[in-house]
């Protein structure tokens, strides 16, 4: 188990370095004249050249990357080119919002998908059909469309929630709760429907296995079979889907954050990318890759704990 974990961490680090270098190279060759974008169209060539020097943009690619990487190793992610903040501050201000949103959405997804998927698998019949149809509809409606519908109905017409986030400095849990409810539900709906499908098929597959028949013939109660044996065997499939959904949500949150004006990391990523604010983009990439690696590691560990076969292979 320890070797397994260490191997996973090592490959994570390799991935991190590779993605950083790749992103940096892509940004380097994007051809954006950042100094010009900062100074505007009335600045003289000399002023632009000076700004370029100031930002180190006159250096070759590898020197710039090493400079950046050296900073990262000493814990310094640099400073935004368009903003007064350091990259570290910027991310620390925004990460809690994005993570809270994604974690809440994924927990809701996990619970609801399991309940719906298992109910459909065990009861079959009309319940199953409703879940199946719901899955198709849910898959067909993108989260951001739901988000816009929610804002229109629940925020603007009914006034039950704020249309844009009210998470102000020092805001209490109530502000977080009312600000994150609509976005979290919007993100959950589509994830739940496809999650429930996965859980349903995994549970049905297990229910048809011989060991379930054996357990039944021994008189073990249905409830015990379902929760102690079937769920445990079906869990790895569900967990893997969940981890993929988590990563998908980190991407999807970008649009959701825009609609609800949530000052999260996705919003930051988009604005920094279009401005060419390389320090911020690199910071976002670094944090996102680290989060993805950690989530994958946790899922692998959970799968290993649930199913010893995984550990051996």
């Amino acid at each position: 188990m320890v070797t397994f974990t260490l191997k996973r961490i090592a490959s994570g680090i390799v991935l991190l370095v590779a993605i950083s270098l790749l992103t940096y190279t892509l940004l380097y060759f994007s051809g954006t004249n950042i100094a010009r974008n900062i100074l505007g169209d009335m600045a003289t060539e000399d002023q632009v050249a000076l700004k370029q020097q100031e930002l180190g943009l006159d250096q070759p690619l590898f020197a710039r990357f090493l400079d950046w990487a050296g900073g990262v190793l000493s814990g310094d992610l640099g400073r935004s080119w368009f903003n007064a903040e350091t990259v570290g501050q910027s991310l620390m201000n925004r990460l809690p919002i994005t993570l809270t949103l994604v974690v809440v959405a994924i927990l809701l997804t996990a619970i609801l998908a399991t309940v719906l998927g298992m109910t459909a698998a065990v009861k079959r019949g009309w319940v199953d059909r409703v879940v199946q149809i719901g899955a198709v509809i849910g898959d067909a409606i993108p989260g951001f469309v739901l988000a816009i519908i929610f804002v229109t109905i629940f925020a603007i017409q009914l006034g039950l929630f704020p249309a844009i986030s009210t998470i102000a400095p020092g805001a209490g849990p109530d502000a977080w709760l009312i600000s994150l409810t609509l976005p979290a539900i919007a993100m959950t709906v589509t994830a739940v429907t496809s999650g429930a499908q996965q859980v349903r098929s995994a549970v049905i597959a297990q229910l048809e296995k011989d060991y379930v028949r054996t357990l039944r013939s021994r008189g073990v109660s249905e409830r015990e079979i379902l929760f102690k044996h079937v769920l445990r065997s079906a869990a790895p499939a569900g967990l893997t889907v969940l981890s993929l959904q988590f990563i998908g949500m980190l991407g999807g949150v970008v649009i959701i954050e825009q609609i609800f004006a949530l000052p999260g990391m996705g919003a930051l990523a988009v604005s920094a990318t279009s401005l060419g604010d390389i320090p911020i983009v690199m910071g976002v990439v670094l944090y996102t890759v680290i989060i993805v690696i950690i989530v994958n590691l946790l899922v692998d560990l959970a799968n290993g704990w649930l199913n010893p076969k995984v550990r051996v292979s």
Binding site: G40, M42, I167, Q258, A261
Partner: protein
């Protein structure tokens, strides 16, 4: 000068905003004797503030927030008149290269430092040296001399007809000399202005809260008990915020007007930007056809401006043939009749120029420009000009124009003061003149404006005639600024040549 591309970048990108639910302010702040009607002014800002250091200040949307903590030397009235603020009087010498500025002697900075001639010198020197986002405004400044405690003389290397205007903009913002250039002032402004930042109510990238400064020298400018800037870069978030009354004023898009009107909000009418084609390659370096003025005129005749305005901008704008705005002083009414929509005439002109079979033309496009690009491709295609659209990342478009990569460009540009526009679009120094197009005749007209002092606007009309008749551009229309306010809470007056009103133009509703 123009903020348009950045604003548009922001418009198509992220949204970052926090809202401090509008509590209708408690006790009327420390502004004793103020003409304060009280209340909170919640502004839905399009852009985040890059830094509160005045040397990093910007224009248009991005100038407005600086007006809370900082005063400018000169105040620009809503109609563009320059009035005293920190400067009481100013006058040029005969050569228009030395500007003597008299200053108020009763002003302090919010950190207790005294505002005097020395402080002005430090500010202007710092602004120039910092090479910030509007460093271009002080390009002409050679040196600043302290004449006496409340007088400075600003020496210019050459006359700059826009210089006093710049002193009402970023270059005129005065920060405390004790803090200039430090990290502290980047995070928290220290000025002489009507309001001071409340750090407890502010988070970088999402909202900035200001409260009135107690010992401010002009209480007439402190009309609110609180001003909150909420950064809402996404247009949908801005619409939702103002419709649900979480902000009192914000900038929307033409397609959102119906919803805003239905919510009882009020449109503040003004025009700031023009949009259209810039026919860069007037010497035919990349595309020989464009060297012929009749070809450039044919392009102008081929465009159905009315229809494009109606379909793309839902009519929120005014078609035009010139790049100078009506308020610039260089605008010539009849020039707008130079190029009526006439595809037959366009074909005739092309044939006359030897392009009866048309020619190929590359035009760069970027995200958000799809429908305009399609319309232009169609209309130029109708007269035989075969357009190939090349998509360029938004962040690269200005530098690609500057580098002379394209013979023609479509863009949104600020319609400012004549001298600003000339240096942006027409002089050989101008970024949007990448091939340095000029002629002795034009240079003479430009020089006349340069040394024309108060006559600059009138003289710039000749420059305008020249570039319009020579079809340097193919402007489509001036865009209405879709600024909406909530009339139940505030009143506002548009600010000439500025994307959003100055903060002085807002007042609590009666």
């Amino acid at each position: 000068m123009k903020l348009a591309p950045l604003a548009r970048v922001a418009a198509v990108t992220a949204a970052t905003a926090l809202i401090f639910t509008g509590c209708a302010a408690g006790s009327p702040s420390g502004s004793e004797g103020a003409s304060s009607g009280g209340g909170t002014l919640n502004i839905g800002a399009v852009l985040d503030i890059a830094s509160w250091d005045p040397s990093q200040a910007h224009v248009g949307h991005a100038l407005q927030p600086y007006q809370a903590p900082y005063d400018t030397l000169i105040l620009r009235e809503p109609d563009g008149t320059l009035s005293p603020m920190l400067a009481t009087e100013w006058a040029y010498d005969e050569d228009q290269t030395a500007l003597t500025v008299d200053l108020r002697d009763d002003v302090t900075f919010s950190d207790g430092e005294v505002f005097d001639a020395e402080a002005v010198k430090t500010n202007l020197d710092t602004f120039k040296a910092a090479n910030g986002r509007q460093a271009a405004q002080l390009t002409a400044v050679d040196s600043v001399d302290v004449v006496d405690e409340d007088t400075v003389q600003i020496n210019l290397s050459a006359p700059d007809p826009s210089f006093t205007y710049y002193l009402s903009q970023a270059a005129g913002l005065m920060g405390s000399p004790a803090s200039l250039g430090t990290d502290e002032i980047a995070a928290e402004p220290v000025g002489t202005g009507p309001y001071v930042m409340d750090p407890a109510g502010s988070v970088v990238g999402s909202q900035y809260t200001f409260t009135p400064r107690e010992d401010y020298w002009n209480h007439d400018l402190q009309k609110f008990d609180k001003i909150v800037f909420k950064v809402l870069t996404d247009p949908t978030a801005r619409l939702n915020a103002i419709v649900s009354k979480q902000v009192d004023v914000t900038l929307l898009e033409a397609r959102q007007t119906e919803q805003a009107d239905a919510a009882g909000l009020e449109l503040l009418e003004s025009q700031v930007d023009w949009t259209g084609l810039l026919l860069f390659d007037r010497d035919g370096e990349l595309n020989p056809a464009l060297a012929d003025v009749t070809v450039r005129q044919a392009i102008n005749h081929a465009l159905d401006r009315e229809t494009m305005l109606e379909q793309i901008q839902l009519g929120y704008g005014t078609v035009t043939n010139q790049v100078f705005g009506p308020e610039s002083g260089a605008y010539v009414d009849e020039l707008d009749e130079t190029y009526p929509y006439d595809p037959e005439k366009a074909k005739d002109l092309l044939a006359e120029a030897g392009y009866a079979d048309g020619f190929d033309l590359v035009i760069p496009s970027f995200v958000g420009l799809e429908s305009i690009s399609a319309a232009i491709t169609q209309q130029l295609g109708d007269v035989g000009i075969r357009v190939q659209t090349e998509t360029v990342p938004v962040a690269n478009i200005v530098s690609d124009f500057a580098a002379g990569k394209y013979p023609v460009g479509y863009f949104f540009l600020f319609q400012g003061e004549p001298w600003v526009a000339i240096n942006q679009l027409i002089s050989t120094e101008a970024l949007y003149n990448p091939f340095d197009s000029t002629s002795p005749e034009l240079q003479e007209l430009i020089d006349a404006v340069h040394f024309g002092g108060d006559e600059a606007g009138e003289l710039a009309k000749d420059v305008n005639r020249y570039v319009t008749e020579n079809a340097w551009f193919a402007p489509l229309y001036r865009l209405d600024q879709i600024v909406y306010v909530n009339p139940a809470t505030i009143t506002a007056e548009p600010q000439i040549q500025q994307a959003v009103p100055s903060i002085y133009n807002f007042a609590p509703a009666e």
